[in-house]
Amino acid sequence: MTVTIAAPQAVSAEKDKDPALIRWLIFIRDRGIFVLWAVLLIAFSIWASPYFASLDNGILIANAAALTAIFAAGIAVGIICGALDLSIPGTAALAGCTCGWLITHGTPTGLAILVALVLGGFVGLINGLISLRGFNPIIVTIGTLSVMSGAAAGIAGGYTISGLDSLVFMGTDRFAGLPAPVWITAALFALLTVFLTRTRDGIRLMAVGGNPEAVRRSGIHADRYKVLGFVISGFCAALGGLVTTALVTEANPAANVSIIFNALTAVALAGVSLAGGRGSLPRVLVGALILGTISNALTIKGVSPYWATATTGLLLLGSLALEKWVSTSVSRRLVQSASASVHTGTR
């Protein structure tokens, strides 16, 4: 009836550290993409010397990656929370056109931007509320994608809204030497990273993506956090749409679906599992930067841009293989150390 195993007082003497090898493997899994980017930067610096390794080129890469990164942030938050949001291009087009229409009809620029961003969040809210009814989020967001791009075309009257010069401060203007989109991207990622890793709501949002049942049983309204994920995703989409509009000072009502695939590549490269619940935004940012770095270096060397696309694809497949290898190694090591602990008494 009584069991005498693992006396409580023996517990406190244990050191709370994982074996070195496991920590190393976890490091590769969590930080591997940073290492990959560093390797790429060094390799390209040598290969495409002297044009690649300059401050100006660095800014160029960052600026080119900024837009992909903003949309990737939206996709990533959606996936982390457990839903792939495909309505992002539609939301982006709608936000751009709404902002453009408001500005050409005499609304102050600041207010027009605010309205567009709120509208993006509202689209996310609608997506979320529909998905909660038990419909597949992918289909729901494909539906809203069509609705949004139709609405954008309706607002714009079928043509691009041009002459939005008051938006250049978030497009081609530079502040302290850096283009505005780089600042916006940096701020967005800093904000979202802190939110997801440091705040209660962010942590719960990630937990909902991982296992909604666990969250529900902890007495939390899991559904609210699902909707919150969509709202953030819609907000990012609207922000990306505004930056796109600002870069060309024109609002284009046509939803550009290819941005999803660029963003998804960055997200997948960052090791954000499509199953949800895991992923980190700094890695997504680096994923977008890697895409920008590769196409930049290949352009400098005069290689056809088609090869940039192909290289990116290969890299993506390679990163999948690496992740698989790391996770199987970790679990194998853990099984070993777990069975070892039975006999050494370090349970």
């Binding site: 693992a6 994982d18 705040t199 990630m206 296992n211 666990a214 969250v215 007495g219 619940g277």
Partner: protein
């Protein structure tokens, strides 16, 4: 008895024409481990679901510390100090142990950052480490993601999550559904000692299991269900394996044979 932590009186449960539970009286005291045995379909899980508020009985009453309660949902049961550890552990794999244990009762930072909802990770880790130590379990560093734990360690974390939400001082009640079903021998021993320690700290435990040796070694008292009826309710010290098997299979006559059945 006055010191019953959880008491069910004359619980009937019908699914259509199927009588899943038939006049069940059962009680568990503070600091006691009650084993619930029975063959598949005997009504163990149904009874546990009635206790956890997942099912509402057709008739009968539920008393928690002597006060009659009606559970409309699991949340009501949780509110009364009843925690259930499910067979599917429902842990967040990608998050670490500390985050899993603190989900839903996060510690916020002091000051303005706390008002913004910032979580105090250090304090959470300290609390989780302390709680696990109090339970006398050593799983792994609390910063280890759950996906990197073995099956037994996960089970311990799931148990600990339930256990840290009930405790002896607050007269908690812990319901366990097959906690060792997926575990090896060594891990079963660990879970077993954890259940025992919880009971020693004053938590009332109800344990549903198929594992007879486990029930014999960890429980204070064992109740056997057969086709929705309680056929035995006996302290472990006064029974033996063969008797229990007899009650489970129906080969042995019920301890509570009614007059009509006896005739």
């Amino acid at each position: 008895m006055a010191d019953n932590a959880l008491e069910l009186r004359n619980i009937d449960m019908h699914y259509g024409y199927v009588r899943a539970l038939d006049g069940i009286d059962i009680a568990v005291r503070q600091g006691e481990v009650l084993g619930l045995l029975g063959d598949n379909g005997a009504g163990k899980s149904t009874l546990l679901k009635v206790m956890s508020g997942a099912h509402q009985p057709t008739s009968g009453e539920i008393r928690v510390h002597g006060a009659e309660k009606t559970f409309g949902s699991p949340a009501d049961a949780t509110h009364s100090g009843i925690q259930m550890v499910y067979q599917d552990l429902a842990l967040v794999d990608a998050q670490d142990i500390a985050t899993n244990l603190n989900l839903g009762r996060e510690i916020l930072r002091r000051g303005p950052l706390g008002w913004l909802g910032f979580v105090d990770h250090k304090a959470q880790r300290r609390r989780s480490t302390a709680e696990l130590e109090k339970l006398g379990v050593r799983t792994a560093a609390v910063t280890r993601p759950v996906e990197m734990l073995s099956g037994g360690q996960r089970q311990v974390v799931a148990l600990a999550r339930g256990a840290t939400r009930v405790n002896g001082e607050q007269s908690g009640i812990l319901l366990l559904d097959e906690p060792t079903a997926a575990l090896g021998y060594e891990q079963t021993q660990q879970v077993q000692s954890l259940i025992r320690r919880l009971a020693d700290q004053g938590v009332a435990c109800v344990l549903v299991t198929h594992n007879l040796p486990l029930a014999m070694s960890v429980c204070d008292r064992i109740a056997v269900l057969n086709r929705g009826r309680k056929v035995a309710d006996i302290p472990v010290a006064e029974t033996e394996n063969d008797h229990l098997v007899g009650w489970i299979t129906g080969a042995r006559a019920s301890m509570f044979a009614t007059a009509s059945e006896a005739s």
